[in-house]
Subunit: 125 residues, 2 copies
DNA sequence: TAATTATATACGCTTGAACATATATATGGA
DNA sequence: TCCATATATATGTTCAAGCGTATATAATTA
């Protein structure tokens, strides 16, 4: 764990909220809260934003300890850090419940659900 | 209700988190979540920050619809807007539960509790 | 009306964060 | 080894937001 992580790992409570205070990051987090781990290409496709923009925001979330990552081949999968403090996990779920029927979250879920050729996606199980 | 309020009144979810993403604002909100309405001088004393700084942050919170205000003589009392959406109120309470035993929130509560001459404070009932 | 207290706002400055674009790195397959 | 795909990072710029200081407004009391 490097210095950047130690510096920002929720030592200060408001740094957690800073991570939620950007619409791109919040949309990514809500998708992961709803769907579990997602890779960069799924988020790039779903939010229709540039790959560097998505990657940079995911890096921020990871450095802040909000996300953890796993590599599988060329794909990087990100998911919400299960070791987040309980109140932080609660807030993510409460937020999802609060926004899941509003835009842009409805559309995001829909677009992700309709995405073809998702890596690791098993059709017909 | 003026244009600024309409623009920021939680039409965008992340604007709510933007309001929580500043330590001064978060400390004020946690005190109000714990204590109910508070006036500017109580917050200025408790956080040991300049009056204009506190006032400006309270104005932001009010414009965003997170706080409502009431005047009583020369004092302005602010409190969490009871008409906030349920999920937003839940998040404030969850956050308070999560941080109430950590700094700077412990000290803030202590200093406020020990403050002398609080306006509207009835000694010996 | 004048003085005092409490609060709000205006101004100029600084800084951090987000952005677009370009480029680097990493993995897997031919 | 070379290429293609997926992802990460670097660079320079722009802009929003916070800050301190000064000043304005509002209510109260003399």
């Amino acid at each position: 764990m490097d210095k950047r992580i130690l510096r920002t790992m929720l030592n200060e409570t408001d740094s957690f909220f800073k991570m939620l205070a950007d619409s791109t990051r919040l949309r990514c987090l809500m998708l992961m809260q709803a769907e579990g781990e997602l890779c960069v290409c799924e988020l790039t496709h779903t939010l229709n934003l540039s790959q560097p923009k998505i990657s940079r925001h995911l890096a921020h979330l990871r450095e802040a300890g909000v996300l953890v990552a796993r590599r599988n081949g060329t794909w990087m999968y990100y998911r919400i850090n299960p070791d987040l403090q309980g109140w932080a996990l609660d807030i993510l779920q409460t937020t999802l419940n609060g926004v899941r029927k509003t835009e842009p979250f409805v559309s995001d879920q829909k677009i992700l659900g309709a995405m073809a050729n998702r890596p690791g996606f098993k059709c017909c199980s």
